[in-house]
Symmetry: none
Subunit: 136 residues, 4 copies
DNA sequence: GTGGTCTAGACCACT
DNA sequence: GTGGTCTAGACCACG
């Protein structure tokens, strides 16, 4: 189970945690019946306050992805995999859509946009090798 | 001069205004020496509080993109076009990069990501063809 | 707009606030478009921490009863009256149902239960007539 | 001896157990000198953690309703029947009172409240037959 | 002034 | 040990 949190993003940390848990369940890193990490544990790992994590978990419970087990932890529900796969797809699509909408509406020539996308797709899908061929 | 504002985005409205002004200058919709709309006028058009617009303009002044002309308004500086073209490119690239980073790290199969990107690119490059404002 | 909060009830304070706002809207004390009290104001009046109030308001927003207006406050939605009347009815019914279920399952003779109910109904429909509406 | 436990009620489970034991004694299901079930046994039956049951029993001992008999279990005291009958009545009355207080203060028309009460009374006092004639 | 996010830390109920 | 509630107070974005 891993997390990719960006404290300085405009997206609230608790929202990022929500997404990350959804992604983990969607990709099978967490199975039905598993307990997700405790608020305290995850708070430590992400150097985030436990309350922030708790807020994210509350949201996940509301989404029907986990249920609180008194004194035990938060458990992945039977519905979660299906829910999370749909949700992941939707969240990813949304982000891509918005980035492209902004790109196009910025007036940047279409070819330019395409080139940027290609650049970044290569960067990301090939293994994270961080010498991007910037075309500044 | 046009604006594409999303009040419910996690990105602050004043930031969105900053970007939109930059985009307008970059694509030639605003030329050196032009006056950008007044705080009140733009506030009306965007149904946003004038203070919010003022905050955006402050930021634009800080970036050297406009300067206040007492009694006249905010004027596009001679440096603005170059600045804004670079800035536009960087902002767009950044957004695309983040969307793709999230997409890949979400565990969604690479094919899937590519497909989503293609879908959205088509959506945006076609439909969006409302008498586009300049392409540089 | 009045509130009847019981800090020592097993029901969380924020839940009580949720109910009370719903009741106020259901009975017309708050109309569509009205702003509900600010978290700080209500926190003061109820001698409750503003964060507790904020949590209640979040829940109300999730229910579609109010919407946050940036920098202005929380506004009663057009759907709220209908939603709140249904919700009020349901909450009240639920509480009554549980009290009676417990009463019956306690083994108390049915007559006895009925008598208790009559007693209390009389108390509440009459006595309570000291034009309360105070938040005490 | 029977129990009616609601794990998702805001009322703590151990409190519910306390009430249920009191009700059982009050209605004669448990006589003076009887042993109440063991912590482990009851924990199993209610699918509740034994510690939770133990906490309830502690409370019952404090109330003077049972006493620990080393090596045998918890025994119903001679005072218990009288204590429990009074206590039962009081607990039931209290719950009814609160439910009605909330109902009235919710602004729901008095007739409406009465109707809800009648509905529920019928549901509960006729034998628990679970196809309630909802009058939604 | 408004609500939203986050940190910090207390106490409670339950396992 | 777990999550849930609450208090307290900081900072931000917005009006």
């Amino acid at each position: 189970m891993w997390f990719d949190i960006h404290p300085d993003s405009p997206i609230p940390i608790f929202e990022q945690i929500v997404s990350q848990v959804i992604f983990n369940i969607a990709s099978g890193g967490l199975a039905v019946g598993d307990l997700i990490p405790s608020v305290r544990d995850l708070g430590m790992r992400l150097t985030v306050h436990p309350n922030t994590v708790a807020k994210a978990f509350q949201e996940l419970e509301r989404l029907g992805v986990v249920t609180a087990r008194r004194g035990r932890g938060m458990e992945v529900t039977p519905d979660a995999p299906k829910l999370c796969q749909a949700e992941r797809r939707e969240r990813v699509r949304q982000r891509i859509r918005e980035a492209l909408r902004e790109a196009v509406s910025s007036g940047l020539p279409r070819e330019e946009v395409r080139r940027l996308v290609e650049d970044e797709i290569i960067n990301h899908s090939n293994g994270r090798r961080r010498e991007r061929h910037q075309s500044e």
